[in-house]
Structure formats: C-alpha cells, structure tokens
Symmetry: C2
Subunit: 285 residues, 2 copies
C-alpha cells in the first residue's frame, strides 16, 4: 500500500563529466635582476572552447583544474541552464590543438532555451577570466533572496582564514592565479584556482550543483576583489557571506548592501573589515 | 615651386573628446576585526555603455578616470577602428542612470566596418575589466612586427620602478584597482588606473593614439599579471617591453617568446625576472 504523503522522487540522473587532466604548471628559464639564469614555475593558461550540442559558444582561458565543473558552473551562472537535468554530459579533451587547446562538448537534453536572446547583450566587466556577463544578470538580482538567518562566527572566520593559509596551492608554487574556496563555518569543502577569479567561482558553482548542496550557511572565499560581478555571482548561488583577501569596489559594495550579502575584505590572518550586512558576523565575547 | 619629394600631408583632425569627470573613490563605514567602526575609501566602479553611431555595443565596468580614452583604445585594440580619422567624437555623460551609469556616444565618419562579423566570435579571457576579445585577435598576431632594436637599460628599468613607487594612486588610498603606465626609458609619460587592468591598457592605447606616439622604445608597466591577452595587446600597440609587478601565465609566456616581447615580471623595487626576449634588457657593468 502506498501512502499518499510519501512521494517517490526518482533519483536525478547527474550529468556525466569527464575528468580531464593537464599539467597546472610548467617550468621556464628566466634571468634574475643580476642577470643570472634561474628556473621558475608559471601557471598554465589554456584556451577551452565550449560547444553546446555541437554549436560553438565561446572560448574561455583557464588554468585547467576542473574544466568540466567550470563549464557547468558557467552555464548556470549565465543562466543558460536552469536545471541540472538539462545537461546530459560534459566531455573535455585537452588535445585539440597544437598549443594544447581544449574543447568542452556539452550535450543537453533539449537544447539551450533562448540562447540567442541571452547572449545578445554583452557586458564587459571587471572580472578576471569570466568577465562576460550576459544581459539580464542585473535584472536577475530582483529575484535573489538570501537566507536571513545565515551567519558566520568570528572564530569560524579566523579558522577559515587559517585553512586558506595552510592550503597547498598553485599560487604558492607558480603565482599568477586566483583562488576560490567554499566553506561551511571553518570547514573547507572545495578549493579551486584558476587564471581568472571568475572561472574559480564558476567552478565552485558547478561543484555545488553536482553535490546538490544548499548554500545557506556556506561561505565563499576569494583571493580576488569583490567587484559587482563577484558579489552578484555569490548571491545568485545563494551564498550570504563572501570573504576576500582583497578589497571591494563601489558597485560591489552597493550590491552587497542591497542584497544583504555580508562582504568581508582585506582578510588575512586575523585581520579583516566588514563592508556590509555586519549583522551576519557574530563577534563573540 | 613644389618639390616632388616634399609631401604635404594635411594635418589630421583628431577626434573631439569630452573630459567627463566623476569621483574616483567614495568613503564607506566598515567594522574592523575588533568590531569597531572605521571609515575607508573604496574605488568607484561604474557601468559605461558604449554606443557607436547610436547603436549599443557593450557595457564596460570602469573606475571612470579617462572614459573617452578607454573607449577609443578599446575600439582600437578590438580592431573595430583602424584609422583615428574614422572617429569624429566621443562624448561621455556620467548622469544617465540612477546609479551613476554612464554613456559613451561614439560618432564615426562612416560607421564601423564588419562590426557584426568582428563581434560574432567571443573569447572570454583572463582579463580584468576588458575581458572580451573578439575573434581574429589571435589571427592578428601574424601581422605583428616589433622593432628589433627596441631595448631597455637595467638602470632605466630601476628608474621606472622607482617612478611607479612614488606615483600617487587611487590604489594607495582605496585599493582594488589596477595601474598601468607608459614609459620612455625611466620617464613616465602616462599613468592610469582602473578596476580592470585591461581597461587600463586600453586607455593607454587610446592616449598613445591621440598623441600620435610611435611605440618603439616605449615600455608598458602594469600591476596586473602578464596573461596571453595582456602580452598580445602590448604587442599590437607596438610595445616590445612589458613590465609587471606580478607574474606571467604559460600562454602569456608563449606569445611573448613568439613575438619577441621582453616580458619582465615580479618587478618591485630593485628585483625582477626576465621571462622572454632577454636580449632587449641591457645589463650594464
């Protein structure tokens, strides 16, 4: 006998993602200021062209850490895909060109709706790596509702900053990349680096989506500045607290205030400033 | 009597540019890590929508230092305008919207050629602020020929770094912006900051164009990383030496080597590394 209040929800089929790997750094010979030869590591930077159902959509420059999650998160943050089930698979191949160019083939269940309309209006933003925001993103802000109860304890913020400091990174070995991390309190859930900070946040969005994670009480950490687009992307992901090693721009500040995003900047070791929604940060005795 | 080898070139009419001004910083109230109130400066970030002959082209997020030169340089670096005479005027107005949005009205002599074709293929890059490179930029590399004789003395490089250090900046007062400067030897010609480093380099391109400056023996300094697009833009401007406070990515390195751009990174005070075309840097006794 089947009870009426027990709903059998068929388990959602997750998109099939490849796990394409490529070296994240390479060694180069340089001269130092005394004219002496040295060997240094520098981060990879690869062109990844995204095809959706065999139609070329765009080319992204990326470090190449998690290209499948990057593409998935990008599709979501651009609101080109609304439901995870729409994506059947994302297949990345790094051996498509003579310079290590890659291709990401996205197969969808029924095509992307309104693709032309959504990609028609371009905004070139302050973003690193994922700078293009298609039109309508600003409009979408009206629909953003963050959990009013989402908070972070100061002790957890300090724990978070300590975890960031201890993380092994491409930045430490090669420089010139941005890092982004998702936390639950002081607990590091996912960490990613990319040549652009927007790639990094998109990759986190892709990861959250695959995990089916609710974003209330998640905290987003970024090494990059809190520009308008960074704050918007966090809010769209439902994240109410963002922490940056760097500062904030006026528009990032305005949007954070408007949406109630607690924006914390200049956060290194035990120092930080709270730019907005300070009620979300709990200064304990 | 007119001599055959004396050509009278009519003096070119320069585009008329407005000189739109807007505050570069604003003060905000923050809490510090002890929960105490403080006042901090943060940099402005404005949406500037570019209209070419009344057709909307794109929206750029910018600090707003030199919006007219930014738009001019952007049009050039995207190869949407080939000759300065094609541009009649650029008129910027910062009072177009309730949040201080701006509009840049570009009037051209005969319209932009191939606008649709040139804006059809998008690349989302690692760039801050000016991230979108339209297709064909990579193709354009084949046409780049840098002056083989262009060199920089180490003493001039150190003088350049000292001038950067002494420069009064929005970065020093408000953080969160990138700076870019054009030098001739150790002499600072033009300095600009923006929320995105690509905006900054585009503004320099616009300034050089208006000045009619030859770019041989010019040096471009940037606080940002030397990604593929930064090196490409410098090379397209004819600049053979680029200096960054930050590092280089693998693709920036590859392109610098291919084009013979002397890429110098990690340059602070008297320290630096030379990544490519080291023959252009003269280590004197």
């Amino acid at each position: 006998m089947r009870r009426a209040n027990l709903r059998y929800k068929p388990r959602m089929t997750l998109p099939r993602l490849t796990n394409a790997q490529a070296p994240l750094t390479q060694e180069v010979s340089v001269l130092n200021e005394r004219g002496e030869g040295e060997t240094l590591s520098i981060p990879a930077e690869r062109a990844l062209t995204v095809y959706v159902d065999k139609t070329e959509l765009l080319t992204v420059m990326t470090l190449g850490t998690s290209p499948e999650l990057l593409v998935l998160g990008w599709l979501r943050n651009q609101r080109l895909v609304e439901q995870l089930e729409e994506v059947v698979s994302i297949t990345v191949d790094w051996d498509c060109g003579e310079h290590g160019e890659g291709a990401a083939a996205v197969a969808t269940r029924g095509g992307l709706r309104d693709l032309e309309a959504k990609t028609a209006k371009k905004t070139v933003t302050t973003g690193c790596g994922q700078g293009s925001v298609y039109g309508g993103l600003m409009d979408a802000l009206d629909g953003v509702r963050l959990d009013e109860a989402a908070q972070l304890k100061k002790s957890d913020l300090l724990g978070l900053l300590d975890a960031v400091r201890r993380q092994e990174t491409t930045y430490k070995s090669a420089g010139s990349v941005h890092g982004c991390a998702l936390f639950e309190g002081p607990k590091l859930l996912f960490f990613v680096e990319d040549v652009g900070r927007h790639n990094a946040i998109d990759t986190i969005a892709g990861w959250m989506w695959m995990q089916g994670l609710a974003s209330a009480n998640k905290v987003l950490y970024t090494t990059g500045r809190l520009t308008s687009e960074m704050v918007m992307k966090a809010a769209q992901m439902g994240v109410a607290v963002v922490v940056s090693r760097s500062g904030i721009t006026a528009m990032g500040h305005e949007i954070a205030q408007k949406l109630g995003v607690c924006a914390i900047g200049r956060a290194i070791n035990s120092r930080f400033v709270v730019y907005s929604a300070a009620n979300r940060l709990k200064f304990e005795a």
